[in-house]
């Protein structure tokens, strides 16, 4: 999945260079952000043993 997301980021960068409409750029970038946060959530496997 990590490889796929890096390739997605590269794709979003290509969209940024090619697309004329801002919405496409923001959409591609936001999709990358969402899957990155989902991957982060997947790798967070335990709660912190801290008291604030």
């Amino acid at each position: 999945m990590e490889t796929v997301i890096f390739l997605m980021i590269l794709g979003a960068f290509a969209v940024m260079l090619r697309a004329r409409r801002r919405l496409y750029v923001i959409g591609a970038w936001a999709a990358c952000l969402v899957v990155t946060m989902m991957l982060f959530e997947y790798h967070v496997t335990s709660s912190l043993n801290l008291r604030f």
Partner: protein, 207 residues
């Protein structure tokens, strides 16, 4: 047909007025921002291939957040290819950078807090006394500060009709290569599995 009188020819030959220094500085700031993050991401490779420390999954997601952050200045630079860089371009770019920095800050803070309790020695090698994930947190805080100062004086720093030169082209190409290199290295680490293991110690593609 347009005939060129000596007066119009003199007008055309006149060099364009140089761009104000503040606008050039605003455009240069975006290059420094993008190249700075490229340097940070490349330094991760240096640690990886000199100390043979494979990046853990949390380090990898922080690299992704850094890239999402760096897409902001890359967008501002890329806009100069097709015309003037206007205020809305700068706002979009810095919006991306700030939201990316929030995501990265959450990730690196999580990893710092995992190892904050003594006597936990932390994970991986250190650079100038700080672990790499702590440096990650520092870079995201620097992005906040840098974007904040830029936006304070953004009226003067909006680049406008800047030239898309070889430095801009090289910066965008370097960024693309850094993303591709990360994809290749992680593919070697991950192999044909869906996710990286919690503590990667080998290249699963070839083992």
């Amino acid at each position: 047909m347009i005939t060129m009188t000596p007066a119009t020819r003199a007008e055309t030959d006149k060099p364009a007025a140089p761009l104000p220094l503040k606008r050039r500085a605003g455009f240069a700031f975006n290059h420094v921002f993008l190249l700075g993050y490229c340097a940070v991401l490349l330094s991760g490779f240096v640690i990886h291939f000199t100390e043979w420390e494979h990046p853990c999954p949390l380090c990898v997601v922080q690299r992704m957040a850094m890239m999402l952050c760096a897409m902001g200045p890359a967008y501002v630079i890329a806009r100069s290819r097709v015309g003037q860089v206007v205020r809305s371009d700068v706002m979009t770019g810095f919006g991306m950078a700030l939201v990316g920095a929030v995501a990265g800050l959450v990730m690196s803070a999580r990893q710092v807090l995992l190892h904050i309790m003594p006597p936990d020695p932390g994970v991986g090698s250190t650079l100038l006394g700080l672990h790499l994930y702590t440096w990650g947190l520092v870079t995201f805080v620097v992005v906040f500060a840098g974007c904040g100062f830029y936006l304070l004086v953004s009226d003067e720093l909006v680049p406008g009709p800047v030239r898309y030169g070889w430095v801009s082209r090289a910066a965008l190409w370097l960024f693309a290569l850094v993303i591709l290199a990360n994809a290749v290295v992680v593919f070697f680490e991950e192999g044909v599995h869906w996710f990286l293991p919690d503590n990667p110690v080998t290249y699963r593609l070839v083992h």
